[in-house]
Amino acid sequence: MSPHSIAFLLALVASILIVLLIDRLLRPGLRGLLQEIVILPAATEFYLRAFAIVLVSVAIGAVLGSSFNLKDGARFMEYVWAVATGLKDVFQNLFVVLLVYVGLITVLIAALTRRQ
């Protein structure tokens, strides 16, 4: 297996773990919030599924978009730096996604609670 593939796989596994962690941390609170605001259970389910899809597609897309330029015989820290570069893109994209999602939920809360 080439150093490029090893770094790519490490970054991929790390990004999947990060996505799972974020989803696990935010899902219960998000579900409670949505259930409180939206009376349709299907809407809660839709927003939670959309959240998961967007997180996964953006994180994996960021790893695929990163370039891991490692030569044969690369040292340990070179792998670490390569994976860190890949994860930087993952975090950047996740940051943007969370920002947009927070905006969306804020609009949802503002619009629906105003109608109460």
Binding site: I37, V38, I39, L40, P41, A42, A43, E45, F46, Y47, R49, A50, I53, V54, S57, V58, I60, G61, A62, L64, G65, S67, V97, V100, Y101, L104, V107, L108, A111, L112, T113, R115, Q116
Partner: protein, 132 residues
């Protein structure tokens, strides 16, 4: 496998994967979306919206795949494109990345569609209580 064979196989394989990703996202979102649409605009018209969701997701995925060109990296002709295997692999990765980006954008857009549906339905607990 020669570079030319790799190019042909990978192009169609990545295209198929992109299409399948779009369909998979549609299948994940279809059930809750159909329930929302049916509650808001009725069964007959909700089918139109649900089909639109499917078409939109599939189109977004295919668009992401097609938006990456093999000629973008300074390669003018076919021989230059085929010459470098690393560049071909990189292009395949970019195609999948763009597919993911387009799907994410499409999902966000449909989140706003659902928001509008919810607003139209006035589906807050208070509104429901008012109606009953």
């Amino acid at each position: 496998m020669s570079n030319e064979h790799y190019l042909i196989v990978s192009y169609f394989l990545v295209g198929l994967v992109s299409l399948c990703l779009g369909i998979a996202v549609y299948r994940v979102l279809r059930t809750p979306f159909a329930a929302i649409a049916e509650a808001v605009i009725g069964k007959l018209r909700s089918q139109v919206l649900t089909r639109a969701l499917g078409a939109f997701m599939t189109l977004a995925a295919v668009l992401g795949f097609l938006s990456v060109s093999y000629n973008e990296r300074g390669c003018v002709n076919y021989e230059q494109v085929v010459k470098n295997r690393d560049s071909l692999v990189r292009t395949n990765q970019e195609q999948l990345q763009k597919t993911g980006d387009w799907i994410a954008s499409a999902v966000f857009l449909w989140c706003f569609v659902v928001l509008i549906c919810l607003l139209a339905a006035g589906s807050t607990p208070a509104n429901r209580n008012d109606k009953t």
